[in-house]
Symmetry: C2
Amino acid sequence: MTITITAFETSPDGGKGLARDTRIRWALEEVGQPYEVRLVSFGAMKEAAHLALHPFGQIPTYEEGDLGLFETGAIVLHIAQRHAGLLPEDANARARAITWMFAALNTVEPPILELANARLLEGDKPWSGQRMPLVENRVRDRLGQLSRRLGDAGWLDGAFSAGDLMMVSVLLRLKASGMLDEFPNLSAYVARGETRPAYKRAFAAQLAVNRPSAG
Amino acid sequence: MTITITAFETSPDGGKGLARDTRIRWALEEVGQPYEVRLVSFGAMKEAAHLALHPFGQIPTYEEGDLGLFETGAIVLHIAQRHAGLLPEDANARARAITWMFAALNTVEPPILELANARLLEGDKPWSGQRMPLVENRVRDRLGQLSRRLGDAGWLDGAFSAGDLMMVSVLLRLKASGMLDEFPNLSAYVARGETRPAYKRAFAAQLAVNRPSAG
């Protein structure tokens, strides 16, 4: 059955790979599943047809036969549970890998989203300069904890898993801020993710949509 | 095998049921699994023994034999996948229920956490009054989308599932704000969750820890 995902017709990041379809592309590349992409404009994302698939009017979505899913974490988990390559066989190790997926999305990403909001939605507000260090320190607290847990390991729990895919994807949002450089093991961890062939193919695929001339 | 979870020795909410151990208690009550609770002080949460179990120094955690998990979403999913009562049998319906778990944690909860931060951590800052409507409106946008999707249905996708457990738990954080009252179907949805016998038992169990005299 054909897998079809949705992606921005024009990504707000201009092809830096930060739109969430990259996470789905990466997961599909890791497990070797081909997929098709339907591009959606900002206008169409808020229309009834897309809202029927994604109640919050965002991308990505995932369609396969009768199944329609939204929410990046759920889609990556669905792919990881159905195809080999993103979750360990052992039941306990599998549960731990899934724990890291949730940790990426519900513990590490929220302060990073708050930082993005502070910059993109409140950068012109009178409180922006005074408030920014507070928001940055909330991110730093999480990065420090993650850095201590990772230590000098290659991945978060044994072999590369969907948990690492999600954590690297979340941390990639910080690359431009320079904040990752304060934690050299996290920088190296993110770089390790970026050098995976599956990530490279996913990145190239989203770039081809957003900057056709870059290929 | 005995299931042991951790909870606050003294919850910051004084027993309103908003600490995340309530979500785990609720899930265990829905599937009829007994559990033990180890209470952790704020000091002990930041010590090596607890950090080995939970790298971000929070509660809840979940231990069962050799398995140690952290992250509420992962723990609820683990319980739901191993015991009947929180996920539908049909594979597609199951994937959709899991989608709602992620939607609760990664789409609906982040703006609610930001609102909590704005009140608890920044309530005394000079920008607080001017900024608050912005933060509240981000929550309202999500609530409006969720309200439109729920419509007059009882639960988000057919029968009650782990997705509803998580969404109701996330929305409960807004109860004191009065913001839920702007969306009568969401208020009714949350109330529907609260009247489930399993929720009532979970709520009573956390209350017994935090206000022993209330029982």
